[in-house]
Symmetry: C2
Subunit: 117 residues, 2 copies
DNA sequence: ATTACATTTCGGTAAATAACGAAATGGAAA
DNA sequence: TTTCCATTTCGTTATTTACCGAAATGTAAT
């Protein structure tokens, strides 16, 4: 059983919160997230592993792509609660970065972006 | 403004979750918490500083004692939400440690305990 | 089969965290 | 004012974290 403290630790990083915020908009692959966050592929992969291991997201492979999505069907009440809470918490923040992320997400195409930048 | 990630970081430690759980029962001083957690005074003081700086708890001095309590009057919606959520999350956990903490809290007297163990 | 490419794993590094004991602080009592 | 004592601050250490680039993995297309 994942402890409550551990659950909070999994979402105690700004980049992981941004990832969850973006995944609320739509399913994303590693390279799309990498493009928005400006991090190395390997770093994004690590963040996704942490979110997955703690039950916040799911992965589904589609050929060479790995698609990540929010685990909105989780049987863990705490996950459901936190996933629904985070968007309202973000709104409470003054930061514009989360809205910028969403705008950028809807403008990128993984087929163009990946492997280039 | 404290970011959402930062807020989660403040409660991403098992000992700080235990402190919040105990403070739900009643106001406590450093030495009482130290006794239950089995940590050094200075370590407990640090944990309390983090919880205070992030808005989860308040302190009020009473002579040589410093009393800590939950900041249930916070104007930050996120604090209110998290403080009410944590007890339900803990219940979801299998861990008995939180209930044991509460039982022990109600058996200790700061006047007897402090300075001895 | 070979190449191409998205992703993960590995090895390493710099910074952050949690812990301690010792020294400093500040209020209460002697 | 001197002493006592709860707490905080300081200095240090071991561990964890976030990050990167390079190498390994696995799938698709040539």
């Amino acid at each position: 059983m994942i402890t409550t403290a551990q659950l909070f630790k999994a979402i105690s990083d700004q980049n992981r919160i941004r990832i969850l915020n973006m995944l609320k908009e739509r399913i994303l692959c590693v390279c799309e997230i990498r493009t928005i966050l400006g991090l190395a592929n390997s770093t994004v992969s690590q963040h996704l592993r942490i979110l997955k291991e703690n039950g916040f997201i799911e992965e589904s492979k589609d050929g060479k792509w790995v698609n990540y999505s929010l685990n909105i069907k989780s049987s863990d009440y705490r996950i459901i609660e936190l996933l629904s809470l985070i968007p309202t918490f973000i709104k409470e923040e003054e930061e514009k970065i989360f809205q910028t992320d969403l705008r950028r997400i809807n403008k990128i195409d993984r087929n163009i972006i990946c492997g280039i930048s």
